[in-house]
């Protein structure tokens, strides 16, 4: 089988055996977005205005939650060293792991976002834009996050450090992702936002697996 697809399949199967890890990030996303109206108040106009930002920040944090585990288990049991030594290119295997992380951590958020958007009184077309923006943005978050996960692999205080390294790099995705929904609500065209998100995704898809591979090699030296 293709080594890329084999890695994706393996990671998804492993995660399915331990469902709690996947569900934790999803529950986190649901709980955080539901806390905001309780903290701010139930005023529909205000909630509608801040909904894109809240949903996006919650998605950022939920993605971050699963990142430390991206390579940790494979590092612990020696699988990662086998991957480095295997004849198939490490970049391809890493890309497979990143895709698996997105399928387990990013895709559920994309699917849940329209339901959670209803809590904030977003209409159907705004929910559509939100879903589309998250569909383009969450893979970007997984790709950038993987670099941070590789650099902090096996480092003490890795989880907090990972947040410090990765969150500043998430800012463009946040700006254009949340901006698309805001622009749509304001009655503006969202094509620019979405194409910029897509451009960043393409750029990250090229460079992030490469940087992640370099980071992993350093960690395993």
């Amino acid at each position: 089988m293709n080594p890329f697809l084999a890695t994706v399949r393996r990671d998804v199967l492993l995660a399915m055996r331990r469902k709690s890890e996947v569900l934790t990030a999803v529950f986190f996303f649901v709980i955080v977005t539901s806390l905001f109206p309780l903290g701010i108040g139930p005023e529909p106009v205000l909630l509608k205005k801040i909904a894109p930002g809240i949903l996006w920040v919650a998605a950022l944090l939920a993605t971050l939650l699963g990142l430390p585990r991206l390579f940790a288990a494979d590092h612990g049991d020696g699988t990662l060293e086998q991957m480095v030594l295997s004849p198939s290119p490490l970049g391809l295997l890493v890309a497979g792991k990143i895709l698996a992380h997105w399928l387990l951590c990013g895709l559920p958020l994309v699917l849940l976002a329209p339901v959670l958007g209803l809590q904030f009184d977003l209409d159907a077309s705004a929910l559509g834009v939100l879903t589309l923006a998250l569909l383009l943005g969450t893979p970007l978050l997984s790709l950038i996050g993987a670099i941070g996960a590789a650099l902090t692999l096996g480092v003490r205080g890795g989880g907090v450090l990972l947040a410090l390294l990765v969150l500043p790099l998430y800012i463009p995705a946040l700006i254009f992702g949340a901006g698309a929904v805001e622009a749509h609500i304001a009655g503006l065209d969202v094509g620019g936002h979405l194409s910029l998100l897509a451009a960043m995704l393409v750029l990250a898809a090229f460079f992030a697996p490469w940087a992640t591979t370099a980071g992993l090699r350093i960690a395993l030296e």
């Binding site: 670099i147 650099l151 902090t152 480092v155 003490r156 205080g157 890795g158 450090l161 410090l164 390294l165 969150l167 500043p168 790099l169 800012i171 463009p172 700006i175 254009f176 901006g179 622009a183 910029l196 960043m200 460079f207 940087a211 370099a214 980071g215 350093i218 960690a219 030296e221």
Partner: protein, 257 residues
């Protein structure tokens, strides 16, 4: 005859390259840095005095902002240096990663705290400038926001290097982070700028209020002073880093005797 000269040239060039690589070893860079430090301090002092003289006694009062605008003479140099130092740091870190030269990685590590300091100064002076001009200590202005993110990037770089015990691994991991940061800084800057124009941020544009040439000179002199200061401090710090990391080698034992 001509061929002969060519060969001699080649030898001379390769000798000078060897000379340069000699300085790439910690052993020879340590005393060289020590000899350079006083010169950079002197330059920083001269530029600093000239710059302060220009900024307080030569530059005229601004028509719109009165005397408050004089903050520009430290704010702009600090912002410039914070961005420039990040680029230089990433360059040294990348060189250390590519050529495996220890001194360049140490130089990157020595530059980071100075860069973070410059970013902090830029934010502090920006807030003090913003209060009388915009009426608020903090405004989500594109430049201030990017500066804040740059400050976070510096903190991340230093935290990553501090968290990794093996210095060689810390160097390489830091280099990758710095290079990823360099790719991201323009993207972050333009996204923040775009976000800012969409939300009609307030931003004082000083270039429009016809800056006097003396103001520009004051700013340039202060920027030169900050530049020389940064080099001097970074060289001092790199000397300490060299000794800390090479403490088990023979030459260090002789150097401190």
């Amino acid at each position: 005859m001509g061929d002969h000269g060519g060969i001699e040239d080649c030898i001379r060039v390769s000798q000078s390259i060897v000379q340069w690589f000699r300085f790439a070893s910690p052993q020879s860079f340590y005393p060289l840095a020590g000899r350079m430090v006083p010169w950079f301090w002197a330059a920083a002092a001269i530029f600093g005095i000239a710059g302060l003289w220009m900024s307080f006694f030569v530059a005229p009062t601004d028509a719109q902002q009165g005397e408050g605008y004089r903050i520009i003479f430290v704010h702009v140099p600090a912002s410039w240096m914070s961005m420039f130092i990040y680029l230089v740091m990433a360059f040294w870190a990348g060189l250390g990663l590519a050529l495996n030269t220890r001194v360049s990685s140490m130089m990157a590590q020595a530059l980071a705290p100075t860069g973070a300091l410059m970013a902090a100064l830029s934010l502090w002076t920006g807030a003090l400038w913003g209060k009388p001009m915009w009426g608020a200590w903090w405004v989500w202005d594109a430049r201030l926001t990017s500066e804040l993110i740059l400050f976070f990037l510096y903190l991340g770089f230093m935290a990553l290097q501090a968290a990794i015990d093996d210095p060689r691994r810390a160097d390489k991991a830091g280099a990758i982070l710095a290079l990823v940061g360099v790719v991201n800084i323009p993207i972050i800057y333009f996204s923040v700028k775009w976000w800012n124009t969409l939300h009609q941020g307030s931003s004082v544009n000083l270039a429009k209020s016809s800056m006097a040439t003396t103001m520009l000179w004051g700013m340039l002199l202060m920027a030169l002073a900050f530049w020389m200061y940064s080099i001097a401090v970074a060289l001092m710090r790199v000397r300490a880093i060299i000794l800390e990391r090479e403490r088990h080698t023979e030459w260090v034992k002789h150097a401190v005797a």
